[in-house]
Amino acid sequence: MRMIRVNPIEPTWAGIITCAEGGQQQARRTSETQPEAKTTEAENLTETGEKLKDEMDALIDEIDEVLEENAEEFVKNYVQRGGE
């Protein structure tokens, strides 16, 4: 990919699906060959899950902070004339 620039900031809450799946695969592979590592992997996975959950919670909190007050009234009053 030459033309597309990815934001230098690492994805936070957006990584939920891909990160969790990758983590599980990693855990499975390790469990076949190194049973003693299982606990650490599981702990890491839990940590990753907790971190993503925290990030999602932070994002939802931020949404609540910026969301217009009196949503019902606001949306009801948003009426446009047709354009084009």
Binding site: R2, P11, T12, A14, M56, D57, E62, I63, R81, G83
Partner: protein, 495 residues
């Protein structure tokens, strides 16, 4: 071989005034276009003489009256910017038309620069409103009450391309591209069946397959034949079905794939049988199905998912970019990205929660509803749908996602800021923009294909620019450098 394709987009923004439910939308739009930081002493007209919006690509002309504003109004509602763009009032909305661009990444950066320009106008406008009131601007296409306003793409094509080929080969592409172009919408409107969430803002509003209208009985293929260029050489395809996107990546893919498909149509490269049995019904069915798994009927009796229809176009495009020597490598990147997005759509669309607007919005809404124990009928859900499109960096929900790294970027902030002031270098927009910088007080009128000067004595001198690939930096820099005044410029051109 296809001609180089010049492209542009037009965005009509929705607006409201906080704490003023009685606000006048036309007056507010007018305030906005006059609040951007342009030289207010400038007296230049938008040159409507060159416009012909009632001509139809099928070969006939309507006789409706077309209103041309008087000079005072003309100056108030039209601003031509040094980056080559037009910022104006269209009906009751502020509208931003990008300068002419030669490639997708340029068009993307001008469209995003437009959002920043609207935001600066908003800040300017707020300074003259009574305290407690402020303008809010949305880059979306519907008020959720049956009123839609447009986002239009323009692709300049070879006049020799039969219009019938465009109708037959482009319609199915437009109907199915929604799956990666939609901006997402809570609910349905305009008499459509209820759905809690749908892919496109616009699809409930399309009622016919082909026609000249843009405001009523909207057609999937618009027939306006107004090239703003040499009419014998070019046709400007005016695409009105698209959603205005917030995501840079979605916009990039929408413009890139559309441009590529139109190149293939121009070159007669598409041989696949791609006609839909009922495009209008399919438009709505595709939008109403966020699983992207429902099938739509083709004329040949087959039924296919929208993603599979897109795969047919994609496979042709893959072969096309491998052989078309006139296309640069950026088109190979577009084909790669397109394929990668189609794979994920076929598998699970939610994987595109960093890339595609309708998925980003849906992902946010479902997580919010889950955490706050709310549902589709909660007013906060409709509020979030609207506020996703708020162009304010601190309040817009798309901007919240972008800031937290949850939106895939294509551009840098520097590219966008640069594009607010500087025109593209490789189209006639360069000449327009540079004249606005250097000779602004002598300019009398501007249109896409002309610029005219008032030199103080003698008649107005109009320079025609019927060829949009001329007037580039390479063509005119020397001319601009050796012309100290507008009079010298005109003399040097006519010498």
């Amino acid at each position: 071989m296809a001609l180089p394709m010049i492209i542009g987009s037009e965005t009509e923004y929705g607006l409201t005034v906080l704490n003023d439910p009685e606000f006048d939308s036309i007056a507010t739009a007018l305030l906005l276009v006059n609040s951007y930081n342009v030289d207010q002493s400038l007296k230049l007209l938008w040159d409507y003489d060159q416009e012909d919006p009632l001509v139809d690509a099928r070969g006939f002309e309507l006789d409706d009256d077309y209103d041309v504003p008087d000079q005072q109004d003309n100056m108030a509602i039209n601003k031509v910017l040094p980056n080559g763009a037009r910022f104006y009032v269209d009906h009751a909305h502020p509208e931003f038309s990008t300068p002419e661009c030669s490639n997708v990444l340029d068009l993307l950066r001008y469209e995003k620069a437009g959002e920043r320009i609207l935001n600066l106008s908003r800040i300017g406008a707020n300074q003259v409103l009574p305290s407690g009131r402020s303008v809010i601007i949305y880059k979306n296409n519907s008020d959720q009450k049956g009123n839609s306003y447009g986002y239009h793409e323009n692709y300049l094509m070879d006049r020799r391309t039969p219009f019938q080929s465009i109708v037959e080969q482009f319609t199915a592409f437009l109907v199915t591209r929604q799956v990666f172009c939609g901006a997402g919408k809570v609910g349905s409107e305009n008499g459509a069946d209820y759905v809690p969430y749908q892919i496109s803002q616009r699809s409930d509003f399309f009622e016919t397959e082909i026609g000249l209208d843009t405001m009523v009985k909207r057609p999937i293929i618009n027939t306006r034949d107004e090239p703003h260029a040499d009419r014998d050489r070019y046709r400007r395809l005016h695409v009105i079905v698209g959603d205005a996107n917030m995501s840079e990546y979605t916009t990039y893919l929408k413009l890139g794939t559309s441009m590529l498909v139109l190149y293939m149509i121009e070159d007669g490269f598409l041989t696949e049988d791609l006609e839909l049995r009922n495009p209008v019904r399919a438009m709505q069915a595709v939008s109403h199905d966020p699983t992207c798994k429902g099938q739509i009927p083709l004329k040949n009796g087959k039924r296919m998912t929208p993603v599979d229809v897109q795969w047919l176009y994609h496979e042709a495009a893959q072969r096309y970019v491998d052989h078309a020597s006139h296309l640069d490598d950026s088109f190979k990147t577009i084909v790669e990205e397109w394929g990668s997005v189609l794979e994920r759509l076929a598998d699970d669309p939610m994987q595109l929660h960093r890339e595609i607007d309708w998925v980003m919005k849906l992902h946010l809404l479902t997580h919010y509803m889950d955490r706050r124990n709310s549902d589709w009928s909660d007013p906060r859900t409709a509020m979030m749908d609207l506020q996703y499109h708020d162009i304010r960096p601190d309040k817009g929900l798309y901007h919240v996602l972008e800031r937290s790294g949850a939106a895939r970027r294509v551009l840098t902030e520097e590219q966008i800021v640069y594009s607010m002031e500087e025109p593209p270098e490789d189209t006639r927009a360069y000449f327009r923009g540079q004249c606005l910088k250097k000779f602004k007080h002598q300019i009398f009128g501007v249109n896409w294909d002309s610029i005219s000067f008032n030199l103080g004595e003698g008649p107005i001198k109009r320079i025609l620019m019927e060829e949009p690939t001329r007037g580039t930096k390479r063509h005119v820099q020397h001319l601009l450098d050796r012309s100290e005044t507008a009079a010298e410029l005109v003399a040097n051109i006519t010498a």
